[in-house]
Assembly symmetry: C2
Homo-oligomer: 214 residues x 2
């Protein structure tokens, strides 16, 4: 049996209930720390909205609400043009979650949340040393989503670092190997296990589902 | 030890290696089936780019490359204005993956991939009956991402259905309870287990990380 929630009910919900419900309905989300640099301080913020935009050129997007929490991240990206995306693991999620606390502007979340800053050649933003996947991003543009005042921040991959052993023969990274976590809703962190890997799907090679998928 | 891959190397990679690598670097992704309706046929397509845009009004986005595979999905959304987002579970992932095969236009992936269509009152697109979370979406707009010709499809939640028992006291859905899976790269499906749930983060309530996070 399913519960029905129509739009009118969503609009009339108590605010925190609605936040928790709607933030959970898209499915599992990526768990990343965004590293940036201002004139006075480094900055680190947890994001669950990083999304693949294309592989050639290599482009990633992320959603940002300008008026609220990650405003230092946005300001820093706009002013220096570089940022880093760092994967969160099973041993990092608690510290990563607390980067979302509204610290004073001069406080670095690297220090407040016990992460090590790492600087690499030719790159003006800090990486998280502990992360098994570190991506150096060059800002392309912010695309406004006018209907609710959010932004899609678009960037190109400039540098990529990952643990030796994570890459599979076909080129992809084994995120399980790196103990990367997923997020659901606003506050839940998940351990992840691969259960299937399929070939590129062709209409002539569709399996007999009655036998296989259970 | 980490492996370094600079942008120049990514640009020179063999195409399939680059596709697999760059599609895997954003982290875990949501696993959804998008249901649409054309004049002649229903349509179903696997997507891993559904992203939360806001909760009031309740808005979700997804990334679409107009020139390639999910073109029927895009055409149908633009012509009738409605679509559904349906979560993929541990018993659905193989069938869901094969919706990405390029079937002829008159073939419904519901039939080809053995899913049951479900129609609900006041809604012009088909839901996937098997899904524990079904979202009826009303199209708002397509936002062009000019740098690579992709689109961000923006929609409002019009109707929401989920299995009784999935909703927690704070309002959010327990996706583990629904046996919802996650995706990495282009072809890998993952089973997911919650390992932590934290309160809203306040600077005055940051834990002592040395004791807790291991």
């Amino acid at each position: 049996m399913k519960k029905t929630v129509l739009r009118k009910t969503i609009d009339q919900m108590e605010k925190v209930q609605r936040l928790n419900l709607i933030n959970s309905i898209s499915g599992y989300k990526s768990a990343n720390l965004i590293g940036t640099q201002s004139e006075n301080s480094s900055n680190l913020a947890v994001f669950s909205s990083v999304v693949h935009l294309g592989s050639n050129p290599p482009l990633l997007g992320m959603i940002c609400r300008p008026a609220t929490v990650p405003r230092h991240t946005l300001q820093n990206i706009e002013s220096n043009g570089y940022y880093t995306i760092n994967h969160i693991t099973e041993s990092m999620h608690q510290r990563a979650h607390y980067t979302s606390a509204k610290f004073e502007e001069e406080v670095s979340e690297f220090e407040a949340c016990d992460f090590q800053e790492e600087y690499k050649t030719d790159f003006l933003a800090p990486f998280v040393k502990e992360s098994p996947v570190q991506i150096g991003m060059e800002w392309v543009e912010n695309i406004p989503i006018k209907v609710n005042g959010t932004l899609l921040i678009v960037g190109e991959v400039a540098q990529l670092y990952f643990e030796e052993g994570m890459q599979e023969e076909n080129g992809e990274l084994d995120l399980n190997y790196g103990k990367v976590v997923g997020i659901s809703g606003l506050n839940a962190y998940h351990q992840v296990n691969k259960i299937a890997h399929y070939p590129y799907a062709r209409p002539t090679e569709v399996p007999n589902f009655e036998d296989s998928d259970s």
